[in-house]
C-alpha cells in the first residue's frame, strides 16, 4: 500500500494490549482479518465502546489514527475528555495507533470504507469480502478522502440518521456474521 503524501506520521506503530505498550515498525505489523480502523477518533469513551464490540465479535485488531486516544491514556489528568474505562475484554485485543493505516493492511486484504455522506451501496445489498479491513470515520468526520480512494468498496449503513461509532461497527460485524456464516444472501 502507498504511504501518505505530505502528512506527518508517527515513525512507529503504538501497539497497546493488556495495559502494555510496544513500539513497532510498520513493516512488522500484520493485521488479522477482520480488522477495524477508526480514522481520527476523538472520544476515548467511543474507542472503549468499539473495543467492547470488537471483543464480542471476535475481532482481534483495532487501529486508530490521531492523538486523542494517546493523550487520554497516557496523560489522563490533562485530557479534555471525561474519564473512561476500557472494558475487561480489551486485554484480548491489540489496539494499534498509526497515522497511515493503509500501510498496515496486508496484501490480499480488502479495504472497505463505511460512509454515509457519499452515495454508496446499502449494507443489505453488499457482499461481504473474505478478508475485510473496515475503515470508519470519527464521531464527526467521514473517512478522509485520501483513504477513501484507496478502499476497494464503499458501503453505507441503513438508518434514518447517523449511528454511533460502536453501533456502526456492531452492525457491519453482525452483517458479516450473517452473510458469511449463515448464508443470508445480499439482496
Amino acid at each position: 500500500m502507498a504511504g501518505l503524501q505530505g502528512v506527518q506520521v508517527r515513525t512507529h506503530v503504538y501497539r497497546r494490549r493488556g495495559g502494555e505498550i510496544d513500539y513497532l515498525y510498520p513493516e512488522n505489523v500484520r493485521l488479522v482479518s477482520p480488522a477495524v480502523v477508526l480514522c481520527g477518533v476523538r472520544q476515548p469513551e467511543t474507542m472503549a465502546g468499539v473495543v467492547r464490540v470488537c471483543a464480542s465479535f471476535g475481532v482481534p485488531d483495532v487501529v486508530y489514527t490521531g492523538s486523542s486516544f494517546d493523550k487520554a491514556v497516557d496523560d489522563p489528568r490533562n485530557s479534555p475528555y471525561p474519564p473512561f474505562h476500557m472494558p475487561a475484554n480489551a486485554a484480548h485485543i491489540s489496539i494499534y495507533g498509526y497515522d497511515d493505516p493503509l500501510a498496515l493492511v496486508p496484501e490480499g486484504y480488502t479495504a472497505v470504507a463505511i460512509q454515509t455522506d457519499v452515495p454508496a451501496p446499502d449494507l443489505a445489498t453488499f457482499e461481504q469480502p473474505h478478508d475485510p479491513v473496515y475503515f470508519f470515520g470519527s464521531e464527526r468526520d467521514p473517512v478522509p478522502t485520501r483513504l477513501l480512494k484507496e478502499c476497494e468498496h464503499v458501503v453505507s449503513l441503513p438508518g434514518l440518521h447517523d449511528h454511533t461509532l460502536p453501533v456502526a461497527v456492531g452492525m457491519i460485524l453482525y452483517d458479516r456474521y450473517l452473510k458469511r456464516f449463515h448464508k443470508v444472501e445480499p439482496l
Binding site: S56, F57, P166, V167, G170, Y174
Partner: protein
C-alpha cells in the same frame, strides 16, 4: 443452510427496556431505535425514570417515537404483539436462524442483569445474539433490528423501515 427471507413489509417492531442501567444506555438505545424507525418504546423499572433525555440521544428520538413508561410491559403491549425476550440464556434461539414475527416486541434486560423468569416465562420466543460476550444495550438493539430488516428482504426505505 440458507435462512428464509421474509418478503413483506407489514407489521411493526416495538422495543421494551427493563430496568435499564443508566441514561447513557437509554440515550444510546433511543438513538439506535430512532435510526431504525421502530414504532414504540416501553420503559419499565425504577431505574428507568428520568433516564430518557440523555446527551447520547443526539437526535432526540423521544420526540419522534412514542415512549411509554409502564409497570408491566405485557399489559402495555399492543394487541396481538408477540413478545420476544433478547437475553443470554441457554435455551434461546440464535438470531441467525430466527424468523421474526410480523408484530414483535423485543424485550431487553439491563446490561448488569438478566431478564429472569418473570419475563422469560411470558415471552413466546427467546432470542440470543451469538457473540462471545454481552453487547452494549444500544448495539444489541441495533443488531436485532438489523437482523429483522435484513431477513425481511427490504432494501432501505425510510417510509417502511423496521416494519
Amino acid at each position: 443452510m440458507s435462512t428464509a427471507v421474509q418478503q413483506d413489509v407489514r407489521g411493526y417492531a416495538a422495543i421494551a427496556l427493563i430496568n435499564p442501567k443508566d441514561g447513557y444506555n437509554v440515550g444510546g438505545t433511543m438513538r439506535s431505535v430512532g435510526c431504525f424507525g421502530a414504532d414504540l418504546v416501553m420503559l419499565e423499572g425504577k431505574r428507568a425514570n428520568g433516564l430518557l433525555r440523555h446527551s447520547t440521544d443526539t437526535m432526540n428520538a423521544w420526540k419522534h417515537i412514542p415512549v411509554q413508561w409502564t409497570q408491566d410491559v405485557f399489559e402495555t403491549m399492543p394487541y396481538a404483539c408477540v413478545p420476544v425476550a433478547v437475553d443470554l440464556v441457554p435455551d434461546a434461539i440464535p438470531s441467525p436462524g430466527f424468523v421474526h414475527p410480523e408484530r414483535a416486541c423485543y424485550i431487553f434486560g439491563a446490561e448488569d442483569a438478566t431478564l429472569g423468569a418473570k419475563y422469560l416465562d411470558r415471552c413466546k420466543y427467546r432470542l440470543v445474539l451469538p457473540t462471545r460476550q454481552c453487547l452494549n444495550l444500544s448495539v444489541a438493539v441495533a443488531c436485532t433490528l438489523l437482523d429483522r430488516v435484513t431477513k425481511r428482504g427490504v432494501p432501505f426505505d425510510p417510509a417502511v423501515f423496521a416494519r
